[in-house]
């Protein structure tokens, strides 16, 4: 009587092992990524980056989450000040992403993975690094090289980031349309009931005009170009950043300043009409301080369970539950940062909200996610029916348990990124300056040495229980 059960288990084994090159760890089958990363985030919040690296799960090259582990460890090494290791990890991740892009359009192994994902969950599919994470990675890699005094390599990373950003715009709009088209032919899903229950993530995505590009990367790029004297390139990147964050006053001033320096009279007129007359605050031989302030850690995707009616071939309607990832609009306790430069208070201005980019990415993935989820429901239900028919109650219970336990939303995303990044920029006299940062009772004093006519970059990372910083003269 048990023989058919054996053969079922055998099928399952075959399906789970066939993807071969890309394997999924046993724990990914039953617990979500965000859940596994909790201890890492906790340690990072306390500034224990070395411990956090140690608690990040080891992943082999064949693991579906391999690249994610590289990104997390790369970022944690960057935060702990171990720049050579961070460079190594990020370049491994970068190679991996390049290889993924090189792969054939129709991959046999991907087909197997999809089959695997249909009997288990989406963690069986190799993690595809979304564009915003790629551009963040290249930005941090650029900073790594910069801290190693290798400006040329830093600029190479900046150019890589810009290639990613350019592709981001083109790819995403295509992807969404393709997904919706293919969906309509494949499964009959009651889209209305999904959109009724699935939360609108609009307030997280925010007003961002273009949710796929990342102004932080453009800004870092602009600053590096400006420091290396390539004003034309700097101007283009500042302008792109301004397009995304038009209300950022520091960006407005930067664009005006460089438009003036380059003699772009038409542009200058246009921008002065929008942002007011530009008056140079630059006194001869003054230096500039650029403060980049990274706040907290990005929110993880939550899992939400959705009751969804699915029509079977006999037009019976049945309710099934679906596990979908979602960004909940939690009330985040973000402390206001009080910043003083030589006892003069200055305000930060936001340059990127990573969660907005992440939510936008999730929105574009949603049609595909739901299709797979529905197909999975149908497949799992079929397995259950067959097992209960062939192996009686034991089979039924086993199948039900497996189906329930393996139904996990795909909560994978790069979780050690900051929640938001803010900038501040000002002209100061050359010499020593004192910066004081106050965030929710935490206090940090930073001394910087400003050189004439040069930019001093101060990168502050504030976790909930830790403030770290790094300064460099560009």
């Amino acid at each position: 009587m048990l023989k058919p059960l054996y053969s079922k288990i055998l099928y399952l084994l075959i399906i789970l092992t066939l993807p071969g090159c890309a394997t999924m760890q046993f724990r990914d089958l039953f617990s979500g990524y965000a859940q596994q990363m909790e201890p890492v985030k906790f340690q990072a919040n306390n500034g224990q980056f070395k411990q956090a690296i140690a608690s990040t799960p080891e992943r082999s090259v064949s693991d579906t989450n391999y690249v994610l582990a590289l990104l997390e460890k790369g970022r944690l090494s960057h935060l702990s000040g171990d720049y050579p290791t961070s460079i190594k990890l990020f370049s491994q991740a970068s190679h991996y992403i390049d290889e993924q892009k090189l792969k054939a359009k129709l991959q046999v192994s991907k087909g197997f993975q999809n089959v695997g994902a249909i009997v288990s969950n989406d963690s069986a599919i190799t993690y595809v690094v979304p564009d915003y994470e790629q551009s963040m990675m290249h930005s941090y890699q650029a900073l790594n090289y910069l801290y190693q005094k290798n400006t040329e390599a830093a600029l190479v990373e900046i150019r890589k980031a810009n290639l990613v950003q350019r592709a981001a715009l083109e790819n995403n709009f295509d992807a969404i349309n393709d997904a919706i088209d293919s969906l309509e032919n494949e499964v009959e899903v009651d889209w209305q009931s999904i959109s009724d229950t699935y939360p609108e993530m609009e307030n997280i995505v925010g007003k961002a005009k273009n949710g796929f590009q990342n102004a932080y990367t453009f800004y870092i790029s602009g600053v590096l170009y400006e420091a290396s004297g390539e004003l034309n390139d700097a101007y283009i990147d500042y302008k792109k950043a301004l397009e995304i964050y038009p209300e950022n006053t520091y960006l407005q001033q930067d664009v005006l300043k460089i438009a003036k320096k380059l003699g772009m009279t038409d542009d200058l007129q246009k921008f002065e009409k929008r942002f007011g007359k530009y008056t140079s605050k630059n006194v001869k031989n003054d230096g500039q301080i650029v403060v980049v302030y990274e706040q907290d850690l990005v929110e993880a995707r939550d899992e939400m369970v959705l009751r969804l009616p699915v029509y079977t071939s006999k037009d019976d309607m049945r309710f099934y539950s679906l596990a979908l990832p979602v960004y909940n609009n939690k009330q985040q306790v973000s402390h206001v940062a009080n910043f003083q430069l030589d006892s003069k208070a200055l305000k930060f201005s936001q340059i990127v909200k990573v969660e907005a980019l992440a939510a936008q990415t999730l929105k574009s993935q949603l049609p595909g996610l739901i299709t797979r989820q529905v197909l999975r429901l149908i497949a799992k239900e079929k397995v259950r029916k067959k097992m209960s028919k062939e192996a009686g109650d034991v089979g039924n219970i086993l199948a039900n348990l497996y189906n329930l336990a393996s139904e996990r939303a795909d909560t994978r995303s790069w979780l050690t990124l900051p929640q938001s990044t803010n900038i501040l920029r000002t002209y100061v006299k050359e010499g020593e300056h004192h910066l004081v940062l106050n965030i929710g009772g935490k206090h940090k004093k930073i001394e910087v040495d400003v050189k004439p006519n040069r930019i001093t970059l101060v990168n502050i990372t504030a976790m909930s229980n830790h403030i770290g910083y790094k300064t460099i003269n560009l």
Binding site: L10, C21, S62, L106, V156, E170
Partner: protein, 200 residues
């Protein structure tokens, strides 16, 4: 039936155990063979750039007159990497300077080893190990008359089906006394890659 199951289990076990292990094969190849592993800057590009540049430099009439009666001293500044790849541009300048030295028309000073030379001279004078009469004196080196420098830039475009990369390599020779650029040339390389439509 039992046999089938047993053989199937064995098959799965083999699949699972062997996983994705590829057998590594080691072999020697031609160092100048055309290499097309991927679209990134590779050995063929490096060789092409270095050969074309030195040929062009050695054949140019201006350089012919410069080197007619003397062997000018040149120093290689550097090739600025303006591409979106991490490329060891020192390796390009090494190839170019080696080829030029081999031609016997130029002499080079190596700015990358100045510190090492200084250390050696310091050792000879202050180390107490070397006969002071035979120590090499400071201030006797020959200064460069010409500077060799350049840029490597790229334009990369890609979409789902195709990737295209264009490299432009510019090399210049400047007379350090007059500041005149005596010679300049550029080499272009274009590579395209089409994505396979079916693969593992």
């Amino acid at each position: 039936m039992k046999k089938i199951i047993v053989s199937a289990v064995a098959g799965v076990a083999v699949l699972a155990l062997s996983g994705c292990a590829n057998k590594a094969v080691v072999s020697y190849g031609d160092a100048t063979a055309v290499e097309t592993t991927d679209i990134n800057f590779g050995s063929t590009d490096l060789q092409k750039v270095a050969t074309q540049m030195t040929d062009s430099l050695l054949l140019s009439p201006v350089v012919g007159t410069l080197t007619a009666n003397s062997r000018p001293v040149v120093f290689v500044e550097r090739i600025k990497n303006k591409t979106s790849e991490h490329i060891d541009t020192e390796s390009i300048t090494d190839s170019v300077s080696t080829k030029l030295l081999r031609s016997g028309k130029f002499r080079f000073v190596d700015m990358g080893r100045v510190e090492a030379a200084r250390e050696q001279l310091n050792f000879q004078h202050n180390g107490g190990m070397v006969n002071p009469n035979k120590a090499i004196a400071f201030g006797k080196q020959v200064g460069a008359q010409y500077m060799l420098y350049g840029n490597l830039s790229s334009i990369v475009k890609s979409n789902k089906d195709k990737a295209d990369v264009y490299y432009k390599f510019t090399l210049r020779l400047m007379d350090l006394q007059s500041g005149l650029v005596e010679w300049a040339d550029e080499t272009e390389i274009r590579k395209t890659r089409e994505t396979a439509s079916l693969g593992w």
